[in-house]
């Protein structure tokens, strides 16, 4: 896990240079919400690591089949261990609100239209319903996440990524290809 909380408070929600949108400094209330979000991220990562340690490690010279098998094996374990997981368990309502506000400011600001174009350049379908604790759809390309968006969101450990799936902001576990949680219709 990377040192995050300090980064969260300093780097998140402060600036978005590429969109030239100035975000307000986080309030104490925002900081508490973000800290809660990161706590849930840490909990997810602890589970991820515990489960990953139970399956053979991926070799550094893996075949595509090995990568796929490893990914699916870990995915199954996570699905089983988080059975019943619901939307909002990581992206808490407070965090969802912060993320929506941030993304609305970015996408409605200068450069927002261009960023949307980049996000949907490889796959134009917007009306997709992700499934919490479900596998990321194989047939849908991974979206780009513009640097301006990444700079505004709390930093994640290397084992998790922000991606867009349709207009939804998802928290993707790329090792398992599992959607850990998502913010519905995050792109205005």
């Amino acid at each position: 896990m990377r040192p995050m909380l300090g980064l969260v408070l300093s780097a998140s929600l402060i600036s978005c240079a590429s969109a030239d949108v100035r975000q307000k400094a986080p309030t104490n209330a925002d900081a508490a919400v973000i800290a809660e979000f990161m706590k849930h991220v840490d909990e997810y990562m602890a589970l991820h690591k515990k489960l990953e340690s139970t399956i053979p490690a991926l070799p550094k010279d893996a075949s595509p089949q090995q990568i796929d098998q490893h990914q699916r094996a870990l995915g199954r374990l996570i699905e089983q261990n988080r059975a019943g997981a619901k939307r909002g368990e990581i992206f808490t309502p407070g965090m969802e609100q912060i993320a929506r506000k941030l993304l609305a400011d970015i996408f409605r600001g200068p450069g927002g239209t261009q960023m949307k174009r980049e996000i949907f350049e490889e796959y134009q379908e917007r009306d997709i319903k992700p499934v919490v604790n479900g596998r990321y759809p194989d047939e849908i390309p991974l979206s780009t996440v513009p640097p301006g968006v990444l700079a505004g969101l709390p930093k994640l450990p290397a084992e998790l990524e922000y991606r867009f799936l349709g207009t939804n902001l998802i928290l993707l576990d790329p090792h398992a290809h599992i959607i850990a949680d998502f913010v519905e219709r995050a792109i205005p």
Binding site: S18, S63, I67, I140, A151
Partner: protein, 315 residues
């Protein structure tokens, strides 16, 4: 040595006029010269059917550059066919990849369709591919044996026999840890040639993405301070040779499968040469103090070429 085009593409092969460079001044710029340098920024003249000239010395480092290639479509296969054709005459030993190596789904069959099948002649010939990851790539690609990343998102490697070191970065999530690794790795490198590659371009005249100024602010001081001579990027689906910036040569090679026609801004002050009309790849050769490059399109035409000198430590 002169390399003749022997394939069926011979009628469209082009003469590469490699122009000698000015001698290298201390801490001087990486000089890029070309017969067509600084002319029309995006014009791609149809070169006449001629021969290719590259030094093609036995002990030189020969390599290819591709980017944004892995869509599995005909254009990728066309470029791959050209790469194989050229390999027969110019036996490069490695290929560096600028990212977006596999577009769309990444199931085992996709690795075949979008990588192993098009580049099979090169893989069979023992050519090693060294990948960087693009914004559309799953991070698990770093474990794929044919990308030679050894499980790392960012890494460096030395050329087999020559005084050259390559540095591959992951530019989608350029975390402070990576930047610090990069700084140390550059400072610890004594090689004459330091060549860096990653996905997002620090300089680009393309409309779709353009220059990544945030990334530039993080990386460029390190490149300048540590005598990096050459930076290779992709992301924008065009070819662009950037006019040297702070003495460093930059190329955008993001059209080895994808292509965004007409995406280059005409008259951009950054552009030394561009091609947004066809898919492209590059061949490079380092022989002592000279790096010779050619850029080639789907028809096998060399439409850009030149020589780069290594940057030297300040005295």
């Amino acid at each position: 040595m002169r390399v003749r085009c022997l394939s069926s593409w011979a009628p469209v092969c082009a003469l590469v006029a490699i122009v000698c460079c000015a001698s290298v001044a201390p801490a001087g710029p990486a000089t890029v010269t070309s017969a067509e340098a600084a002319r029309a920024p995006r014009a791609v003249a149809a070169a006449p059917a001629q021969d290719l000239e590259l030094p093609n010395k036995p002990d030189s480092l020969k390599f290819a550059v591709i980017g944004d290639n892995g869509n599995g479509e005909k254009r990728q296969y066309d470029i791959a066919e050209q790469m194989a054709n050229w390999h027969g005459r110019f036996p490069y030993e490695l290929v560096v990849m600028m990212g977006d190596n596999i577009y769309g789904s990444e199931r085992p069959q996709d690795f075949i369709k979008k990588f192993e099948a098009p580049y099979k002649p090169l893989l069979d010939a023992g050519v090693k591919f060294y990948a960087s990851l693009g914004n559309h790539d799953a991070r698990e690609q770093r474990y794929y044996k044919n990308y030679n990343m050894e499980g790392k998102l960012y890494y460096s490697f030395k050329a087999p026999k020559q005084d050259v070191r390559f540095f591959a970065l992951e530019s989608t999530y350029p975390e402070p840890e990576q930047i610090e690794w990069f700084r140390k790795e550059l400072e610890g490198s004594n090689e004459k040639w330091k060549i860096c590659f990653w996905h997002h371009p620090l300089y680009s005249s393309a409309r779709t993405h353009g220059s990544e100024t945030r990334l530039r602010a993080s990386l460029e001081p390190l490149l300048i301070k540590n005598n990096v001579s050459l930076v290779l990027n992709g992301h924008d689906h065009v070819y662009e040779r950037i006019k040297p910036q702070n003495g460093i040569a930059y190329f955008v090679v993001g059209s080895s499968g994808q292509l965004r026609e007409g995406d280059l801004r005409q008259g951009s002050p950054l552009t030394a040469k561009g091609n947004d009309r066809d898919n492209t790849f590059m061949l490079m050769e380092i022989n002592g103090d000279e790096l010779t490059f050619v850029a080639i399109d789907r028809g096998g035409k060399v439409f850009d070429s030149g020589v780069i000198k290594p940057r030297q430590p300040a005295k």
